[in-house]
């Protein structure tokens, strides 16, 4: 039901983000999606990549504070109001979104999110028949 996301702790220092991206690029790891959460002193870089296991190892070797986390990823139809429709399902079930970002794959939109209660989120997904993306789905694209 989930896909793996890399999260990397980054100080607000110029060049740090480049270093991460270069490390992955040199090893031919594709970045499918990228988002940065920032505070005044540091940021958290979140990545969906073609080979999370390898990327995790590579970044660990370079002493980055990197984690692999499971996040929920959903297909969203490419029409006005569809994001709202999806999010309404979660809010009606009393779930909070901790963070979220979206990207496009071909003509489709993809939503990546983390809620405060994963088991409950799965129930919601089933209840409203939301379209979940699995890691294997990403590979075929």
């Amino acid at each position: 039901m989930t896909i793996r996301q890399l999260s990397i702790f980054l100080e607000n220092k110029s060049g740090r983000l480049t270093e991460v991206l270069e490390t992955l690029g040199n090893e031919k790891i594709n970045i499918t999606a990228l988002s940065i959460a920032d505070t005044s002193e540091y940021g958290i870089l979140r990545l969906i990549v073609s080979d999370p296991t390898k990327a995790h190892q590579l970044l660990k070797k370079k002493s980055f504070s990197v984690n692999l986390n499971e996040v929920i990823s959903l297909w969203v139809s490419p029409e006005a109001g569809s994001y709202a429709k999806v999010l309404k399902c979660f809010s009606e079930d009393g779930l909070s979104i901790e963070y979220m970002y979206a990207f496009c794959l071909g003509d489709k939109s993809v939503l990546v999110l983390r809620t405060d209660n994963r088991p409950k989120a799965f129930e919601t997904i089933k209840k409203y028949d939301l379209k979940v993306i699995r890691e294997a789905d990403l590979k075929h694209l």
Partner: protein, 432 residues
Amino acid sequence: MIWNETFECMSREEMRRCQNARLSDMIERVYHTVPFYRQKMQKLNLSPEDIRTTQDLVKLPFTSKNDLRDNYPFGLFATPMSEIVRVHASSGTTGKPTTVGYTRHDLQIWSEVVARCFAMCGINRHDIVHIAYGYGLFTGGLGAHYGAEKMGCTVIPISGGNTRRQLQIMSDFGATVLACTPSYALHLADAMSEHGYSLKDLKLRIGVFGAEPWTDNMRHEIEAKLGIQAHDIYGLSEIMGPGVANDCDFKNGLHIHEDHFFPEIVHPKTGEPLPEGSEGELVFTTITKEGIPLIRYNTRDLSTLNYEPCPCGRTLVRMKKITGRSDDMLIIRGVNLFPSQIEHVLLELKETSPHYLLIVDRENNLDTLELKVEVDRSYFTDRISELQALSKRIQHALNSNLGLNIKVTLVEPKTLERSEGKAKRVIDRRKM
């Protein structure tokens, strides 16, 4: 005015006799009442008869802050607790504070020496003394308080903090003397206009500043900004608290009340006593103290002694304004801080690595602290809220253990400098 001419102006020869008599009394007492010292002396095959003059002191080892910690809390007290009427404490090198106890007689002596200091500053019983040193376990507030009362001054025991209220009370009550840390004095001076006060609203004429090192430049700045004469008071809780020494009108060194606190200057590496005029570690033996007499307590403060008579008429030896320390202790807003204490707190927290860097700075004349801590993979998460909770937790632990507000900044692992041997843990950007 000289508060106690008999002692403050006695000849060197009389002072030596007085010190020797008081020293042998104290050694005799300590030998029989403090097992820690008795064992030390027995190990060296020394009996009280072997310590008759201050010259004999070199036979005895130093006492350190660690000795106080090892005997925490009351192990070095020389009287039964029923004789102890007050306890104070300051921060130690690790989690535990160093505790000191005072008998009623000790408090009388403390008041006496502070009164002498105040007299050196030109303060008299007509003065209204605004005491903005912290009251509590810290010796600053109550030490200055008792001295000012002994002199017969009007005391405003306002304690530290709340700058706006400090200015209001100082102005409304017509304070003529301000006693606080020099950095807080500057902070008050700079905050005046912001709160709608000018020098005309204040009647201040004298400042008694201590509990942290400061320079003559800072003195000139305070004097100009507050329109006062600024004096330096020296002391440490282990020896008594404020009032161990103070500078007179001539501001050329601080007169030590050596009829109570016998000073030596020793080499920081070898511990050898150094000849007059050399710089080294300042060591005190408390020759009249009852509660917790200390033999050759090494303050780790660096200074020089000058036995020349002073134009003010006092013959008391003068110590040069403290120029630094031989260990890594920092003094932040009057609070002692050892980097090892921070390490201790971080280790207790478990979720942090003990890799840190402390940056000390001074903004608007107040010391600021920033602690950079490495975020390790093991406790790094993808949620900002958890990282923020982590820095808050660290900040809270530091505050409750050290009594200091420290800004915590998380940094990437392995980015803080590691060097062979002693890592660089502290950057002090304050201009002293």
